[in-house]
Structures are given as C-alpha cells and as structure tokens.
Amino acid sequence: MPRRALRAAATLLAAFLLGFVLLHAMPGDPRDRLEDVALPREQADRMRRALGLDDPLPEQLVRTLAAYARGELGVSFTRHRPVAEVLAGALPASVALGSAALAIAYAIGLALALLAVRMPEATRERLDAVLLALAVVPRYWLGVLLVLVFHAWAGWLPASHAMSPGGGSVIDRLRHVVLPALALGAPGAAVVARLALASMARLRDAPHVVRARASGERGIALLVRHVLRPAAAPILALVGLDLPALVSGAVVVEIVFSWPGAGRLTAEAILAADYPLALAGAVLAAVAVVLGRAVAEGLARRLDPRLGALSADLEAGP
C-alpha cells in the first residue's frame, strides 16, 4: 500500500512538473491571448507583472507547487475567478457524460459479445470487422453523424448542451446526454465487445463449460455464469483505465455537443495560455489516471484473488 501511494504521488508530481514546463514552453504567453495585435509593450509588461509572470521560472514553479500543497489552485487568467471554482462547475457535467458513456460502452459491448459468441465462426468474423471499424471511428465524425440522424432528420433528441434553454427537468437532461454519450461510448462498446468476445470464445469449450452443459445448463444463463464471469477480469479492469476519459478524454465530443465539461475547459485554457486553469486541468486528469489505475487493480484483485496475493508478495519484497 505505501508503495502504491508513493507511486501515485510520484505520478501526480510528474504530471504537475510536465504540465508546468510544457505550458511555459509554448510560444507566446498570457499577455498574447488578447485579440489586439497592437497591445502596447508597456501594457503587456504590466499584465505580466500583475499575473506574477515576471519572476524567474523556478521561482514561479516553487510558488505554484507550494500553493498546490496548500490546496490553492490559483485564479484563472481568462475566467477571472478561482480555478477550483471553475473546475468544480465543470466536473458534474464531465462525470455525467463519462458515466453515461461508460455505461453504454459496457452494456452494449457485453450484450453484443453475448449475442455474438453463439454465432457461427464466419458471422463472428464479419461482426468483428465491423466492431474494429467502430472502435477506430473518429468521435468527431461519429458525433456529427449522430446529430444528423437523430436530431436533424428524426428530430428525436437534442443536439447540444446538457439541458434545454432556460433549464430542464431530469428527463430533459437525460435526453441531452444520450447523443454525446453515444458518440463517446460507442467506440468503447466495440472495444469491450471484441475483448469480451475473444475471452468468451476461448472459454466456450473449456472443460467446466462442457461439464455445465452436460449437467443441463443452457443459453444465456450458461454463458453468463460459466463463460462471461471467468472472462470478466480483463474486461472490467478496462473500467479503471477508462476513468480518465470521465475528466478529460471527451474534448472533441464536448465541443461538438457544446457540453460544459472539464475536457473542453482544459483545452480552451491551453489555447488561451491560461496557465493556472490548464495546469489544474492536467493535474485533475492525472488524478483520474491514478484513481483509474487503483480501481482497475482493485477490480482485478477482487475478481482474481491470486493477483492480490502476488501484489502483496511483491510489495513485501524478497
């Protein structure tokens, strides 16, 4: 456990340092985010001083790191309010979209795998090719396609934002999340389906499945109990690895659907050289990676206790 905590802390520190250095290495700086090309040098210099950017970079780094240690993330250059407040405003939308996308990815993916595993080999191979194509389809393209089909043509679902103008009911909000969640989750569903299908196909004729079949078990119940469950460890471990997408992996989808999430916020902050907001967004994504990894390891250990014992042995050392 201490080793994992140390590893997590090191990951977060590395993300912070890398983010800080890369942001400051970008051409131009926050004074150049304004549209006025003729901004006087004196005014630009005054802005730099006001933002604390005149100090040597190592000094800025230490000051920012100390502030982070105190839980202070600074004030956004572009939104003129505390970064923590800005991110807190965007996180619920990110979590809602990410959770819906994960649910779609696993529900559709596992259902497809359960259906496909009983299909003839040739049909399965054709389905696998379709799934492969879906897994790599650009999410921007898929998002636009979904808008065209389900919004512009059919008129069934809204195409933007997390609610209707002026606010909306729970049903209204659920309707708004469907298309972006599909755009984000459908490629994931294809990945889950292919992974599950491959694992289940290997297990389908395993001795314990043959014995269960001989004892009279049939159909979906047999597949779920004796094929899917043993195959679930690597599939569910993916959940943890997908967690970072909850926070920052949905930038393109958030832009297409005008979704008010943290990914779009961070991307806009990077383009505007809003160092405090961009850095906090990067660190937040790193936190999601660390948490995701912990969830993945936890799930894997729970589903296969041998991994836990092995992990404990490794931590204990020789």
């Binding site: 970008m26 051409p27 131009g28 700086d29 004074r31 150049d32 985010r33 304004l34 549209e35 090309v37 003729a38 901004l39 006087p40 040098r41 004196e42 005014q43 630009a44 005054r46 006001a50 004030v75 572009t78 939104r79 003129h80 309010r81 505390p82 407040e85 800005v86 405003g89 965007a90 939308a93 808008v147 512009a152 008129g155 809204p158 195409a159 933007s160 934002h161 997390a162 609610m163 103008p165 002026g166 606010g167 832009i255 297409v256 659907f257 005008s258 979704w259 008010p260 999430g261 779009r264 916020l265 806009e268 383009l271 050289a273």
Partner: protein
C-alpha cells in the same frame, strides 16, 4: 440627415431609450413571463460580468445591455451621439468642461438611484493603478469629475479638443456599490454573484459552459420597448453547430456569422441575415525594419522609444519594404473588389485608410486595382526578373514576402491566398507564415515579420496616432510596422489637439493623403457585422455598431416548434 438616416436614428434612440431607462424604484416582474425567450448563440462564456474585468470583445459588447454609458455613439454625420444615461450635455464656455445631465429616474437593480457619484466612482477606478484598466490612457486629458448635484456630472479637461465627449463616454458606468470589493480583487471575483446592473435586462442565472439567462425588468420605464421577456445566451464553441441550430430554429440570433456561411443562411427558409456596420478593418502592415532588428535591439537592452526606431530605420531597414515605391506597388496590385465580392459576398466595404469614422474619413476611396502601374513602380525601385522564374529580383534578392497571420482564422488564410494570387501577377511571391494567436501576437510585438495580416476595431474614435505615430510607444500605443515620417507625426499631433471636429477634419484629410502616398499599411476592407436571425424572430435590428443593442426590439414568434 436623409429619411433612412432619420429612421435609423429613431430606431437607435428607441432602443437605447429602452436600454437606458433604468428601473423605477419598485415593482414586480409583471409581464416578464409572456412569450418565448430569445435564444442567442455565443462562442464562449462571458468571461466576467464586470466591464472593467472582461477582456473578451464579445463580452464587452454584451455588457452594454447591463451597464449604461453616458451617451450612445451613433457615428452618424450630423448626429454623432444619442442620449443614454445622459439626457443632454453641453460644454462650458471655455471648452474646458462638459456637463452631462443624467436621467433622474434611472435606478440600479438594487433599487438605488444612478447618480453622478457613480460616474465619478467609475472615473476613479478607470484611472486607478490598482485596477490598471487598459483604457486608462483615454482619460489622460480628463482632470476630474465634479458632481454639482446628483444628476449632473461635470468632466473637467486639461485642454479643449475634438474628442472630449468620446473620452468621457469610454466606458460603461458601474455602481459605486462596487467599491465594497477591493480593486485588487476585481479580477478574481465572480461578478455574476454580486452584479448590480442598469440596462434593459437583469442577470437571472449563469450556468458555466452552457447558458446565461437575462430577464427583462418590468420596473424600467422603458420596459414597454423591450420585447423578449428573457434572453438565453447559449454557449456554442463550434460555429458550425450553432449555424445548424439557427437554421433549425433552435437558436434565434447568431451575432457574428462568418462570411463563408452567409450565403447558406441567406438561402435557407429557416433564417435570414442582417448586416450592421462594424467600423472594423482588415489590413496588411508592411514592416519597414529588417525582421529581427527590433527584437535583437530590445534583447540587448535598448529602450523602446522613437530614437530606437529611428536608428533602426537608418541602420537596419527592411531590404525592400522600407521603400515607399514598393509598398505603393503592392497596394496597387491588390484587388480589393475580389476580396469583398469573393470572400464577403459583398458584405464589406473597400477602404484605403485606417480612418473609418464618417466625419473624418476622406472620400477618395481605395486606389483602382492596377497591376500595370504596380509593375512600373517596382521597375523604378530596381526590380527585374532576370532569371525568368516569374519572381522579381533586385540583385540576388527575390521579391519574396512572408506574411505573418493568425492560424486560428480561416478567413485570414482565404484573404491571403487571394492576395498572393494578385501579387503573383506582378512578380511578387507572397508566402503565408501562419502561427497560433499567442505566437502571432508575440511576434507582432517583437516586429519579427516582413508583413502582417491583421484586423483592428477603429470604432468612432479617430486615433491612428496609437499605431502610426513615431512616438506611439511613449504614448501607450504600439507602432507595429515602425513607419512614421515627420510630416505624418506633425499632422497627427495637430489633429489630435484641434479644439473641434470641424478644425480637426482638414488635418485628418491631409494626413490621409500622406498615408496614401506612403502606404505603410494596405487597408483592405471594412467588414460588416453579419447577424443571423431565425425566421421566428420578428422585429428589425437598429443599425448599431453593437449587435447586442438590437436584442431588446426582437420578439420570438411562439409557434411551438422549438424542441
């Protein structure tokens, strides 16, 4: 003023009257709920609900709906200003003061009256070093604001000059109640939680990343002229999506339609376009210094002043753009008609100088597209195509110009592509140097370019000295291309000091002649603001430089079709 002008002035006056009529002391929200909300698409959130904190141009325009100014700058010859917070204004006999008489029925949204103390407080924060407002230089000739009574604000000036009203009028008036927030904290304050406003709408709710809801305040004496009960400002970072929603009737107003989408909207049965003046122009600035000379001098510790620029012009001139014959030739070889028709579908105006204010601009228009004369000027300047590759040379140097442009703007790329084709006809190779905005501005500031394609909001203010005077840097300006001449500087100084617009006008006309002879920029066109309106929207937007000031007169037909 002709009939259309009178009609426009009336429409503006009616809108501003509605906008400026601040609230009566009490009352409810009767009638605020009737009719559908007006849905307006914006590219991003409003960055701050305080006009002295916002740094975003769209946000600044929008805040005119929430905070009053003394007067509205109509920009029409013969009637430059319309009443807003001030009902009338007059100068002192010696011209060293202007008195603005404020409405006595104007109220902030917290019920307190709008008085001269608010105007004085606004002036104090504008000139405060703690706030460091970037427009503080506009106040350099204002000595102070006196309040002889609550509804009279007297601006005192250090001298008499033509733009005294403009200087007093920049920018919005904010309530003195804002003094409870220390100036040092203004840029870290969520102003939507404490906003005290005085406009046709009040702030109802802000949902970051999604929408802001403005609600009509029926307590206002001008509420009868405000049509929509609510305005919902929806954030749409992707303009393509916003246009789809406009055509589908889910967005009512798209305040700035990119020109490449104008025809699509105009042809659609679901929407229409409205063209408003913008007083914004696009130009190519020709650097008269060798591209690295300035940055190297600054890095070596030189001070950015007129002496430095003069020395660099002598010692490190640009190999060909320092020659006014070359700059004039380039200008003659640019087909402005092609830009205006081909890119803007005619929704822009060909212009030739950076002065767009109707009272000061000359009537000569831009030079005719004349590749023949351009070639002759280049021959005079010593350029030949000895190797027959289609590109002129002088000695070993081909006439090749790299143009710095903001890569984020597809429109600028299109402009440059067309100009490059024009200039190729006279043997000039124009190459795009596209970089992200932050780098673009950094290189512009360091003057590291041959030429720069950029835009500028000229507004109703006539102020080329901020960008074209030899002492611009010393006077809180920035002469990006480093061009100036003693004659130009003298004319700029005299025009800026002229006591009246009548006295200033001949000086501005003379300066524009010098500008045309020297051609430090090629000013290409003044673009219109194209507003997209859904077919459900009723009402005509008054002609104003600020498209948001037209929102109060727009009504949405309740056809029940909005999903």
């Amino acid at each position: 003023m002709d009939g259309r002008g009178a009609l426009r002035a009336f429409a503006i006056a009616a809108t501003i009257a509605a906008a400026a009529g601040c609230a009566a002391p009490s009352g409810g929200r009767s009638g605020a709920e009737s009719g559908p909300a007006l849905v307006v698409a914006l590219r991003g959130d409003v960055d701050s609900w305080n006009p002295y904190v916002t740094e975003d141009a769209t946000s600044a325009y929008l805040l005119d709906l929430l905070y009053p100014r003394l007067v509205h700058e109509a920009g029409t010859v013969g009637r430059e200003f319309e009443p807003w917070l001030a009902e009338s204004w007059e100068p002192a006999p010696d011209g060293l003061a202007w008195s603005f008489h404020l409405r006595d029925d104007a109220r902030w949204s917290d019920g307190t009256p709008v008085t001269c103390e608010d105007v004085r407080f606004t002036f104090e924060i504008q000139t405060s070093d703690d706030l460091a407002w970037d427009g503080a230089f506009l106040k350099k000739r204002i000595v102070g604001v006196d309040c002889p009574d609550p509804h009279t604000a007297v601006f005192r000036y250090s001298g008499r000059y033509a733009d005294q009203i403009l200087d007093a009028n920049d920018d919005a008036i904010v309530p003195r109640a804002y003094a409870r927030v220390p100036l040092a904290s203004w840029r870290a304050t969520a102003w939507e939680t404490v906003a005290t406003t005085c406009g046709p709408f009040a702030l109802e709710s802000v949902t970051p990343g999604q929408e802001t809801v403005l609600v009509r305040d029926p307590r206002w004496w001008g509420a009868a002229g405000v049509a929509p009960p609510r305005v919902v400002l929806r954030t749409h970072p992707d303009v393509g999506v916003a246009i789809r929603l406009l055509l589908a009737g889910e967005v009512d107003v798209l305040p700035r339609v990119p020109p490449r989408h104008v025809e699509e909207i105009a042809r659609s049965p679901g929407a229409r376009i409205v063209e408003l003046p913008s007083l914004t122009f696009t130009y190519i600035g020709w650097n008269v210094l060798a591209p690295d000379a300035y940055a190297e001098a600054i890095a070596a510790g030189a001070t950015d002043d007129a002496d430095l620029i003069a020395r660099l012009r002598r010692e490190h001139p640009h190999p060909f753009l320092a020659d006014s014959r070359v700059r004039r030739a380039l200008d003659l070889a640019i087909d402005r008609d092609d830009l205006v028709r081909g890119l803007w579908g005619g929704h822009a105006e060909r212009v030739a100088t950076p002065i767009l204010a109707p009272w000061a601009r000359d009537d000569a228009g831009p030079p005719r597209f004349d590749p023949g004369r351009a070639r002759a000027l280049l021959r005079d300047a010593g350029f030949r195509d000895d190797d027959g590759d289609g590109v002129l040379e002088r000695g070993e140097d081909p006439l090749e110009i790299r143009v710095l442009i903001n890569a984020d703007s597809a429109l600028r790329r299109d402009v440059l592509d067309r100009i490059a084709r024009n200039l190729a006809l006279v043997g000039v190779r124009l190459l795009a140097d596209p970089v992200p905005r932050a780098e673009f501005n950094a290189r512009a500031r360091d003057k590291r370019f041959d030429a720069i394609l950029a835009g500028r909001v000229a507004g109703t203010r006539v102020e080329p000295q901020a960008t074209l005077h030899g002492r611009a840097a010393a006077d809180r300006g920035n002469n990006v291309t480093s061009w100036s001449t003693p004659e130009s500087d003298a004319l700029l100084d005299r025009a800026a000091a002229a006591p009246t617009r009548e006295a200033a006008r001949p000086l501005w006309l003379e300066w524009q002649r010098v500008f045309r002879d020297e051609q430090p920029y090629s000013v290409l066109f003044a673009e219109s603001t194209i507003v997209g309106l859904s077919r459900r929207v009723r009402g005509e937007m008054p002609s104003s430089f600020n498209p948001f000031l037209g929102l109060p007169v727009l009504r949405v037909a309740d056809d029940g079709k909005r999903r």
